[in-house]
């Protein structure tokens, strides 16, 4: 039962190879094995959205995937957004619009929003709100988050990020 196996993944362009048990969740693998703690874990049943990362370019819940399922794939986490000290435009917009307080929900929302904007570059506020229905924020009241996402929508700064 529950054997350990080697998992090889590329995260934010860097290759990793670490052992994980079959039942280890991808969220725990990222945080505990790879030390990438930017991906947060709230509910572990797909409800809060804080664990959202990109798997092969698509936003997914890392708490709903086993690490074993990600073997051989390419992932992107919040740590992969900024280049050096320069924040990604969406991160910058979050800062400008006060779209975070404690920041617990932020990594998941950033990763989801980037994939969302890649498919819908000029969303309405309502569409942004519907997208945000998959993310629980206990602090900001959502309006500033919508402002931040709306601010970068249509600026052409986002789609390349998810590729």
């Amino acid at each position: 039962m529950s054997d350990h196996r080697e998992i090889a993944v590329t995260v934010n362009g860097r290759r990793y190879r670490e052992a994980a048990s079959d039942r280890m969740l991808l969220s725990d693998f990222l945080r505990q094995r790879l030390g990438l703690t930017g991906t947060h874990v709230g509910c572990e049943h797909g409800v809060c959205g804080s664990c959202t990362v990109h798997l092969e370019g698509a936003a997914v819940r890392s708490c709903l995937l086993l690490a074993a399922q990600a073997d051989g794939t390419e992932l992107r986490t919040v740590e992969g957004l900024a280049s050096g000290d320069r924040l990604h435009p969406l991160q910058e917009a979050f800062r400008e619009h006060f779209a975070l307080q404690c920041g617990f929900c932020t990594p998941g929302i950033l990763m989801a929003a980037l994939d969302f904007l890649a498919h819908n570059p000029t969303p309405t506020r309502r569409e942004i709100a519907e997208m945000l229905s998959g993310h629980l924020c206990r602090c900001t009241g959502y309006a500033p988050i919508i402002d931040a996402i709306a601010a970068v929508a249509g600026t052409g700064t986002t789609p390349e990020v998810t590729s």
């Binding site: 725990d28 797909g46 959202t52 698509a58 994939d115 709100a129 519907e130």
Partner: protein, 299 residues
């Protein structure tokens, strides 16, 4: 909130997957998108011995159109119904329900076959497949069989699939000239489980309803067809006062056909009222949509 121990197997081919299901039967669980199964594992509501991950089985996510049907592979991700122009055109009712399935992020991963096999009585895709009169293909080492949507959903979380069977394909009747569609649901927050939902497929000819199917979801232990309600619409124009009367009568028959339960979120009476309102909405949507299509000379 961590999964219990299990043996994880990841077959590359359908033959391998079916062999594993034949060997392990009841003890195995198929892992598709994981949007429902992994939460159940994390909460220890499911404890399979063997987890058969079919995500890398080739050929399970294809889309084919033939004979007025569209067949989608079971592993097609739910987001495809929102994004593929081909699917949106051929399956407008499925596309209409897609934004209500979970959330943007879960639809990237959730699959059409997983949702149908899971047979959640509150699922959008089971309701739409039933409303359209579609079917699924189930394969096992014993052979393959087609299961009509009417026979697939037995009760909440229970489908007619046998433990050694894998749902491989879903057959959806495609949109045709003269047909119109409507979908509506009420949930407390977008993406939450619906309190009630309704779907309608309606064919309009010579100014009256020639054929109509009305489906209800989340208001019984499986999706329901409201046959009696649909019956009062046939032969009627839905315009004008007589049309309003027919739609209201159908909606109240639909409310009577629903078998809602009571919980923390809503009473039986409230759920019936929702069924009535949502039924009215989708019937009208279907009627107007059918008209629109006729105006455009069909799809």
């Amino acid at each position: 909130m961590k999964p219990p121990p299990f043996r994880y197997v990841r077959p590359d081919s359908l033959e391998e997957a079916l062999a594993l299901l034949a060997t392990h039967g009841d003890e195995a669980k198929v892992l598709a998108g994981g949007c429902s199964l992994v939460p159940m594992l994390n909460m220890r509501l499911a404890r399979p011995e063997v987890l058969v991950d079919v995500n890398r089985v080739g050929g399970l996510a294809e889309v084919r159109a033939d004979n007025g049907d569209v067949t989608t592979g079971a592993m097609l991700r739910q987001s495809a119904f929102e994004r593929s122009p081909q699917l949106r055109g051929a399956l407008p009712l499925t596309a209409a329900c897609a934004p209500y399935i979970g959330h943007f992020v879960t639809r990237n991963r959730g699959t059409v076959g997983g949702s149908l096999a899971h047979a959640d009585a509150r699922g959008e895709l089971p309701l739409v497949l039933l409303t359209l009169g579609g079917s699924v293909l189930a394969e096992s080492r014993r052979g393959r069989r087609s299961i009509a949507a009417e026979d697939l959903f037995l009760y909440h979380f229970t489908s007619a699939l046998e433990p050694d069977e894998l749902l491989t394909d879903v057959r959806w009747p495609a949109a045709a000239p003269g047909w119109g569609y409507g979908f509506a649901e009420m949930a407390q927050r977008h993406g939450d489980y619906a309190l009630a939902m309704a779907a309608c497929a309606l064919r309009r000819r010579d100014g009256v309803v020639a054929e109509v199917r009305l489906g209800l979801g989340a208001v019984a232990d499986r999706p329901l067809l409201a046959g009696e309600a649909a019956g009062v619409l046939v032969g009627q124009s839905l315009d004008g006062a007589a049309g309003d009367e027919a739609v209201r009568e159908a909606a109240s028959l639909a409310a009577a056909a629903a078998q809602p339960f009571e919980d923390l979120h809503a009473s039986v009476a409230y759920r019936r009222q929702l069924v009535s309102l949502l039924s009215e909405q989708v019937i009208r949507q279907g009627w107007l949509d059918a008209d629109d299509r006729a105006g455009e000379g069909g799809p």
